[in-house]
């Protein structure tokens, strides 16, 4: 049973545009929500993360928006570049109670066209 639902499955954005990937969860015990970026043939790399007491976190061109009441969070990539073309995963964890184990969404394949 997928505990974190991610959409869309794939996304095509023009260079300079905004890429938006959405995730939703049900378990209110989740207390940490990271995003990972994965290039072909590589392991996922931690991109940015947020806790539920914060509604937004920004790091460079990457922003997480968090809506606790709706149990949704999203990744926004501003001024998208061809080098951002990768697969993105959202995740969530219950922290120490679950050994900090992550529950992942199924991933979004992002293609940024020149």
């Amino acid at each position: 049973q997928q505990q974190v639902k991610q959409s869309p499955q794939s996304l095509i954005v023009q260079k300079g545009g905004i890429s938006i990937i959405n995730c939703a969860y049900e378990n209110t015990a989740f207390d940490y929500f990271p995003w990972y970026q994965q290039f072909p043939g590589k392991g996922p790399a931690l991109l940015i993360a947020i806790r539920p007491d914060v509604s937004e976190k920004k790091e460079g061109r990457f922003t997480i928006s968090f809506n606790k009441s709706a149990k949704q969070f999203s990744l926004h990539i501003m001024d998208s570049q061809p080098g951002d073309s990768a697969t993105y995963f959202c995740a969530a964890t219950r922290g120490l109670n679950s050994g900090y184990a992550l529950n992942f969404g199924k991933g979004t394949s992002l293609l940024v066209t020149p």
């Binding site: 207390d31 990271p34 996922p44 790399a45 931690l46 806790r51 184990a101 992550l102 992942f104 199924k106």
Partner: protein, 113 residues
């Protein structure tokens, strides 16, 4: 990459044979994880460890066992490999200041014929 290595990087084996994958870290992190990645499923947790000899099951643990006799090594064993275990396997560690898996290894591509 926090000094995480996985071996082997690629393996082809036959149904019914035992297979052991190794994850090695150089940073003395307490928490280590094994995930498998399959198209359409994202990453799913197999097992994790929270210290030497301390392990627990994840959501897809059937057919897998793990061992951690040293802080730096976390072994994943497929007791009798099946074709459904064909996958890419990632090891991950949680850094001391992190709240989830922070670094992933390069992966092992396993094919079971």
């Amino acid at each position: 990459d926090a000094g995480i290595t996985q071996s082997p990087r690629h393996k082809v084996t036959e149904t019914g044979t035992p297979v052991t994958l190794r994850c090695h870290q150089t940073e003395n992190h307490r928490y280590m994880y094994w995930y498998r990645q399959d198209p359409g499923h994202g990453l799913r947790l197999i097992h994790y460890s929270y210290g030497v000899k301390d392990t627990d099951k994840g959501e897809v643990s059937d057919g897998y066992s793990v061992s951690r006799s040293k802080t730096e090594d976390f072994l994943l064993t497929l007791e009798s490999a099946t074709s459904s275990q064909t996958s890419v396997y990632f090891c991950a560690i949680k850094g001391a200041g992190s709240s989830g898996a922070e670094f992933f290894g390069p992966g092992t591509r396993l094919t079971v014929l």
